[in-house]
Amino acid sequence: MTLSRCPFPLLHLPRLRHLLPLLPASLLAVACAAGAAPIKTDLANSSVAIAFKQMNVPVEAKFKRFSAGIDYDAGKPELAKASVDIDTASLDLGEAEMNKEVAKKDWFNSAQYPKASFVSSSIKPAGAGKLNVTGKLSIKGKSADVSFPLLVKLEAGKHVFEGALPIKRLAFNIGEGEWKDTGMVADDVTIKFRVSAAP
């Protein structure tokens, strides 16, 4: 936990900082934990996948490499922040040859745009275990403002954030040239994610 994230800005003033050792460490920890602070994500139990239809056949594929940064305190969900970085060349369609193809120019163009990202701009509580998240989604050099509901639950002592974000692949130039034909690969794509993080 860094001081800059502590919700007590007075402690940042040099003079007052001298008094800092006087504060019992435990009290300080409790005080700072009251704000939204980064929590440690457990990537092994997290996933980012996309679901779409190819000639009406449902296909789901996971990204093997991504990172997620989450500031979250169950007591102050409105202070939460989230960002996700996805390695676009890491989509696993279950076939090495296919994986290589979707990293090419017509699809993700991973050589030029190695990362897709999401950065939250506002997170608002929307009932028990639910948050409404708004933010910027950037894929292949195109950005769009998106919002989606996020479910928060505790599972085995960890926070689990789950959600699905429907997008149109053509809005991000995913699938150029002959792949613009949505009869072959549908325009509708749902990004499904689950991030598990230490409480």
Binding site: Q54, N56, G94, E101, V102, M184
Partner: protein
């Protein structure tokens, strides 16, 4: 000579055409490099053809069990009768095994079959990365077996038609083939 029944003849030729088409498409589609819309289209068509063959094969087996096949001529040597019978049994087994292995292969790859892009067919098994290469090899070798069996079947039929001239092949030909020459 007694011929096969009309439904048996119809199913035989319909399945023959579909098997040749699906087999050829299988060779072509797996040979297309990279990822193209044509390739994906061929994969779908190949799967639809396979499912159609499987359904017609089931219908055909039922018909075959309910209706006796015309007997072989008494002059035909016993060994020929029993080898023809064995080959026919093998063809029946492969008519089921080939499409089934392909169906399971695509399921193991996590890609269900949506028949004609409309009917989602049952997920008999879950996606399974270990099983996938096994089923792929199985599908390939069953197909090679089928190609061999069909080759033998065709050579034998042609031998009966043009060397023995015993009317065996004519039992399975549509009647328009020998109108006026029964």
């Amino acid at each position: 000579m007694q011929r096969y029944t009309r439904p048996a003849i119809l199913l035989h030729w319909l399945i023959a055409v579909l098997i040749i088409g699906a087999f050829a498409m299988g060779l072509v589609m797996t040979d297309i490099p990279g990822l193209t819309p044509t390739k994906l289209k061929y994969y779908s068509w190949h799967k639809w053809a396979g499912v159609t063959i499987l359904a017609l094969a089931a219908l055909r087996l039922l018909w075959r069990l309910a209706n006796r096949a015309p007997p072989y001529p008494a002059a035909m040597p016993r060994w020929q009768q029993s080898s023809a019978h064995t080959l026919h049994c093998l063809l029946y087994v492969l008519m089921f095994a080939v499409p089934l292995s392909g169906y399971l292969h695509t399921l193991s790859a996590g890609v269900p079959v949506v028949y004609f892009g409309v009917f989602k067919l049952p997920l008999l098994i879950d996606a399974n990365a270990e099983l996938k290469p096994v089923l792929k090899a199985l599908h390939y070798w069953l197909n090679m077996g089928l190609a061999g069996a069909v080759g033998l079947h065709v050579v034998a039929a042609l031998k009966h038609a043009f060397i023995d001239r015993d009317g065996i092949m004519q039992r399975m030909l549509p009647s328009f083939f020998f109108q006026g020459n029964p």
